[in-house]
Point group: C2
Chain length 543, copies 2
């Protein structure tokens, strides 16, 4: 028997509409490319979002069309999130750190109609000019006075908005309608797109809001360090207007001193980002002898938060919430706030627990399975591949049948490629990665893609790329090679081969020579053994 | 274009499963009919809920069957909520304050298979024994040692649970599946049932949790004074396990001293209820000279919170959240926490704002319309009938085509029967009620039903029942009569006529005689004019 309740489609624009009405004076403060600090309330933001939707329509954007962004965290990027999804199109956030080849691939794979870009990234686009789809319209996210001098044919964001009406008649869309698109690296080949829906986005925002209230509450001043091109800034732009938190947007200024000043001046209460960015802030806090005065919580995720980093903040009475998730999960999966029963426990015990990846967020299910595909117990001992399920989790990849086929198991769970144990009380402990990827400063590098290029060197008999721990970048790639006829080509030769296909920061930091690569029972290169073999190895820049 | 996300059905049992895993040690503390104070964690509660589901199955309860409860707030009632919905049946909470006739009507209209009752209500059932459906199984919510001595054929709750397994294989249900049923008085005739779904229940819980975090957060100790037979205790039993709040259940002990002691002993941080119950607590606070030590917020709704009551609590630094809603809304519609920007404003201004009914909760839309059906502006001036829309709002009534037909307007909005204005910044101000109902101590009395019986008195030419303000009960009914041939029958004669059809507390407090009743333009009795006419009238027990 069915209930007799209204079934109203969950909708992204309803979030901003609510924020504009109920938390009208909460604000978005943005460090912008124009060089100043810009402030506008949710009320103003909603009005501008209406104008933007009219402008998009005028540009020919229709229902289901993809509209790309290449931008820092800022109010215009926020407006794009809501206007694009609100009018029924799909907001495709592009990571500017991708290699040129990947960027061109996803622009054409997504078939973007319009690309909104911060002026910062104009040089990147100029370099790609010949390869850009010919009908792609480019809009520079600035005003007339700051339009870049460029060979590209670009429109001006503020000029597009100026003549438009603030009232837009937002369509009522089925809640499964696509709202956002974000590509992430596969272990090999092209990036794959997670296609978020209105339903998944709204539910994820609600789940995050009830799970991390210390960051997300009325009057909070939240600084998303994690970029809006990284899985929607972990959902902050969607959760903040619901609860009435202000957003303090750092633009491209992510160094320690800039973050510190922004936090201090804007009385930031919480900030979320990957471990790498906290190193800069940490150094600045050390230099100034005290943390930003209002800072109450940092959420660290995207890579494992080192215990020393957690302790650093906690010793200053700044709560650390260690979170785990992934692009395919919208992204939050687990979060590490401690239960109240732990509050009186010794510091050591609390920090040990906080070093784990936390427990599942409401709306997320976890399971670990062994090599035989059977479920393993959540006993804190058994280690298996981690699978997840929930309304925020992808069921496949955008326009990619092959990747979609392998995405979920027979029971309908998504395989994360992470290897983990789960304790009886639900704490996730990520132990390893089964997918052949390296995460450097929060960004992915494909070992396999690097290996494929390295193999094209005439003096290479066999090779493997492994992740080596790095104090700043978490992991860096190192190339391990079996030379042909005892030959040992230098690192530069590999870089030369790789440069056309990869971003600079994706290239291996070193090449090491071995006589043979260790193999698994099934005859594959055993990266596990290889990593153990080089456990004592130190990277050139760490030494 | 559709997104490519998993579409997992929202499900009530997932809430308790989550609470049992992530907030395992949060507890339900219950004043129970056995006479003691009982405590159990969410972990234990979930295990017992599994047993209960097995027991229900053994009693023959199947998918979609209705299972009734007649019970105070307590852990067994809570277990019933989850076990019944979790197994795919419908939890039908019955208000023990209904008249015998209404109770019999809804038991048979709902076609309940099993009735779970607190031993307190056994006498009520015994009095109805002849009229109870013959195949209705009755379960007393107690253990073998406390089974009532009764002429009824009753099963024992704890005996049913004892042999069962804690693991229950909860079915995966479409999220629109009915989960709960709650009848509410119509302006005339029989009560009408709101049939909540899993979707509406889970979404409402999330909406409430993000909207009233001061009550609903991890470690909070929440005391639901509003009964679980009143619209699911305003959703507290569903929101608390998500956020990790403990529930302190008062059972039938709702007097001031009992509530005070429970709040003090259990360090209650927040409590929700109708204005009438706060009077008792208020008197007790006055007597003891200080409020319960941990009490931080009271939510007052169900009837307008008097400003003096709001000020009383606020002066003691207890936050008052004035909320408005209704059975047909799951029930929360608007809530009165002030925006941070108001925090530094003078006390008078803040109290004036808190006296209004608050602003819409996330997920609820409001509109007011004039007599011509046209929308009125939200300017704080225009007064019109209030309509609502949202995932927590009914689209009709259970098995009641006639009531369903009139429930929503052409645009799909539900008519609340409240008359209100809405300010430009979203504050709802309830001005009047267009539905002919009187709300006494949080419970409904139908003016029309009383009038119909009064008209059957041979000496009555015409009559009307109006609401008169009462300091304790908010409103009390008074009968206004035009006598035939100058006859003035006394109140007792009307009571004698009415008693078979109404609960005692529903009878009018007084009868007043007039020469004629004022009429509206369309020739109906103008209750508005009548109420104005008796503005200075004082009820007999108030004087
Ligand atoms: N805060 C409030 N102020 C005024 N009336 C209220 C308030 N809350 C609830 N009501 C009344 O109670 C009705 C809902 O009653 P019920 O369905 O029993 O919860 C509403 O339609 C209003 O008439």
């Amino acid at each position: 028997m069915l209930g007799q309740m209204m079934n109203r489609p969950l909708s992204v624009i309803e979030i901003l509409k609510y924020g504009a009405e109920i938390h009208a004076d909460a604000e978005i403060v943005s460090v912008r490319t124009e060089g100043d600090l810009h402030r506008q309330s949710y009320r103003e933001t909603y009005a501008r979002t209406g104008k933007l939707a009219h402008a998009l329509k005028a540009l020919g954007v229709g229902h289901g069309d993809r509209v790309a962004t290449l931008a820092w965290n800022g109010y215009r990027h926020f407006e794009l999130y809501y206007a694009i999804s609100g009018m029924g199109a799909v907001c495709h956030t592009i990571n500017p750190r991708l290699s040129a080849g990947q960027m061109i691939y996803i622009l054409s794979h997504a078939d973007d109609r319009v690309l909104f870009t911060d002026v910062t990234f104009i040089p990147i686009l100029e370099a790609l000019q010949d390869q850009l789809p010919s009908d792609l319209q480019i809009v520079a996210m600035t005003d007339a006075a700051h339009m870049p001098d460029t060979t590209l044919d670009v429109l001006c964001y503020e000029d597009l908005l100026a003549p438009q009406d603030t009232d837009y008649d937002w369509p009522e869309l089925p809640e499964e309608t696509a709202a956002g698109l974000c590509y992430t690296s596969g272990t090999t080949g092209h990036p794959k797109g997670s296609l978020y829906s209105h339903r998944s986005t709204v539910l994820h925002a609600l789940f995050v809001a009830v799970t991390i209230p210390r960051s997300l509450h009325e009057g909070a001043r939240l600084l998303p360090v994690v970029p809006m091109f990284h899985v929607n800034s972990w959902g902050m732009p969607y959760a903040a207007p619901i609860v009435g938190a202000s957003l303090i947007m750092p633009g491209g200024k992510l160094d320690g001193p800039s973050l510190y000043d922004l936090m201090e001046n804007e009385k930031v209460t919480a900030s979320w980002g990957v471990p790498t960015v906290w190193l800069g802030l940490r150094a600045e806090i050390d230099a100034r002898g005290k943390p930003p005065s209002a800072l109450d919580q940092v959420v660290i995720g995207g890579s494992a938060a080192p215990r020393s980093m957690i302790e650093f903040f906690e010793k200053m009475d700044i709560d650390v919430c260690h979170a785990w998730g992934m692009t395919e999960m919208s992204p939050v999966g687990t979060t590490g706030q401690l239960p109240v029963t732990m509050q009186d426990k010794p510091f050591e015990d609390r920090m040990a627990l906080k070093s784990l990846q936390g427990r599942r967020m409401f709306g997320v299910d976890l399971k670990i399975v062994g090599d035989d595909g059977q479920r393993l117990p959540h006993d804190g001992e058994a280690v298996g591949e981690l699978y997840v399920r929930g309304n925020g989790v992808v069921a496949g990849y955008f326009d990619n049948d092959e990747a979609t086929k392998g995405a979920v198991d027979a029971e309908g769970w998504f395989g994360t490629g992470d290897v983990a144990s789960i304790s009886p009380d639900g704490y996730l402990s990520i132990q390893d990665r089964s997918k052949d990827l390296i995460k450097s400063g929060g960004e992915w590098i494909s070992s396999i893609d690097l290996e494929n290029v390295a193999m094209s060197h005439p003096d290479v008999a066999n090779c493997a790329v492994i992740a080596i721990a790095h104090p700043k970048w978490d992991e860096r790639p190192v190339l391990v090679v079996v030379g042909k006829d005892g030959k040992h080509p230098p690192l530069e030769e590999f870089h030369t081969l790789m440069e056309p296909h990869f971003a600079k920061w994706q290239l291996p930091d070193d090449v090491l020579y071995v006589d043979a690569l260790p193999l698994t029972a099934t005859g594959k290169v055993s990266k596990l053994t290889l990593r153990k073999q080089f456990a004592d190895y130190t990277l050139p820049d760490v030494g």
